[in-house]
Symmetry: C2
Subunit: 340 residues, 2 copies
DNA sequence: CTGAAAGCGCTTACAG
DNA sequence: CTGAAAGCGCTTACAG
């Protein structure tokens, strides 16, 4: 049915070994045979069977990309970044979404093993070294952690300077004269969230502002949860005059509720978001945000993985990328200028 | 290194054939042996090698998903829909992005053949039956077309009622009293775009409004192009009083320029978009939009593919899903109510 | 009901 | 420099 290497060999009048050598750029093949083989490949429209190659050769040209929420624009850009580098190298990417479900993550990691991927880029949704994660290490399958990491599990990692990003965001609000700055955070079991929370606290402390526990609301990274939390916050006897929201989906939730409650942003509440989105400037209240180099994170993750595949024994590396404060109007910076 | 079927067979004291049968739910295996095998699998943490299975068996548990723009929220939801069904069936998804590049699409389709996928879900970016597409058919590889289709290439297809959606959008603007309704469209070589354009024309004709070619601006589906086109449109001597924008990224571009030009939406220009986004209601001008059931499109595509795998000879089917008009404020409906 | 053996499409020492 | 042959980890007729 499908054209196989045998067909090519017959057509070119050589052995299968020679065809294989041509395909793998083995320099020992004569120029003449090489030409004949390539010609036959062209004519027959032959495409080598990667499943067969993977079985025999000790190398694989598929990598696994496991993310925790495909609906999140952050991960979409990340996927794009990984895809770009993979396409250049003729590497296929097997994509799986865990939907922030640790059980699903286990399944997916086992699936990746079953597929004989060369390595895995993982945005973990479970923050202890699970069996399925350890099993990968035992099997010698390289894992690159991206965005989030797993305490106690050594691996190449690419992350963003979450602490500094959060610190910068809050510092910005303080500089604009805000005094009661609330934080809406995702699950503090996630190391990333924890770092952002530390950045928030640090900025407040440095400015001599009190750490009011009532101003910190912990949710689950989803839009819904941010809606309840924002509502609670603004209904309280002493509502905040500013909010730092720890990710993009939660920001959309917060914004939605503020609008429903007819609370003016930034006049009544200033807002800075961690995570920027392509359309952040087109929102009802154009967002001031800490932008992450999401595509670059994808690139770096691929580079780390390629490096580890080439040098399996090299020591683990953590790449920390900088964030950037993008000032638009939700923080009230413009307001402030006019005041002076 | 890795545990193989042989190891399991030895551990359970049975032949490899028996292990294989257990794995494939062959009912002929005794309950006792089945138990012993499953136990050994559990203990050894065995995960069958899918590459090997794919090579031998005439069945594959990977499908290819080829989309044309991963940055587009529309495709993100679609991917999510495909993933959901795939996960249920323990099918892996190989994702590739063609970036609207026909050359890249050829490469990707060849890659899919090389990976021995069971079938492909494709949002084409080339609208003639290319060699790589025909080659799939020759190889007996099922292709399901989604969102867009390829004239002259017969295949299972899932699409949306583009004509009716566009017609409804424009009709809505007409009902609100708009007279000079412009359309910003993506490349009219794309069948989907063409249908939407037909819907636009049809609504105007029906209402006895003139078809002014100056009001139809053709771009390339990207945000940038919509920006230039909107600018041109509004700078003209006789600008429109309404716009129908044919996809979500172009809508963001149009909105951006309108704001920069300080043109009030909907007072000066009403706007309806084809495609809704989760945050459409949070935009500077909350969007009235034709919403597509994107996740459902992903589900249907998977169902069509599964059906074809089960019944390769069945006749081709086209599933057409309905769109929905979501009225928010960019169309000026609210304005209108107040007038009365 | 179970096992021994052939074979899927490749790659890679091993000869020559 | 090239080819014959073994083998990667499975599945599946074929015997028994």
């Amino acid at each position: 049915m499908t054209t196989t290497m045998k067909d090519v060999a017959m057509h070119a009048g050589v052995s299968m070994a020679t065809v294989s050598r041509v395909l793998n750029h083995d320099p020992t093949v004569t120029e003449e045979l090489r030409k004949r083989v390539l010609e036959s490949i062209e004519i027959l429209g032959y495409e080598p069977n990667r499943a067969a190659r993977r079985l025999r050769a000790n190398s694989s040209d598929v990598i696994g990309l496991v993310i925790s929420d495909i609906k999140n624009p952050f991960f979409v850009s990340l996927i794009g970044g990984v895809e770009q580098i993979a396409a250049q190298r003729h590497i296929s990417v097997l994509l799986c979404n865990t939907d922030e479900n640790p059980e699903r993550q286990n399944q997916v990691l086992n699936l990746m093993r079953a597929e004989q991927v060369a390595g895995i880029i993982l945005a973990p949704t479970s923050f202890t070294p699970t069996d399925s994660l350890q099993m990968l290490k035992m099997a010698g399958l390289p894992v690159v952690l991206v965005d989030r990491w797993v305490p106690g599990f050594e691996a190449d990692t690419v992350q963003v300077d979450n602490f500094k990003g959060a610190y910068t965001a809050v510092r910005h609000l303080i500089n604009l004269g805000r005094q009661r700055i609330a934080m809406i955070t995702g699950d503090l079991a996630i190391p990333t969230s924890l770092e952002r929370h530390r950045g928030y606290q640090s900025a407040l402390l440095e400015a001599g502002l009190p750490l009011d526990p009532a101003l910190v609301k912990e949710g689950n990274s989803q839009q819904n949860s941010a809606q309840w939390l924002t509502h609670d916050l603004m209904e309280s006897a002493t509502p905040p005059d500013a909010m730092f929201v720890a990710n993009n989906l939660m920001t959309l939730g917060a914004l939605k509720v503020l609008r429903e409650m007819k609370i003016r942003v930034p006049e009544q509440v200033a807002l800075v978001s961690f995570d920027d989105m392509p359309w952040s400037g087109d929102l009802y209240s154009p967002l001031t945000a800490i932008s992450q180099p999401t595509e670059e994170m994808g690139h770096e993750a691929m580079y780390l993985l390629l490096r580890r595949l080439a040098e399996p024994q090299s020591s683990f590396r953590t790449v920390v990328l900088p964030t950037q404060l993008i000032v638009r109007s939700s923080c009230g910076a413009h307001l402030h200028e006019e005041q002076h």
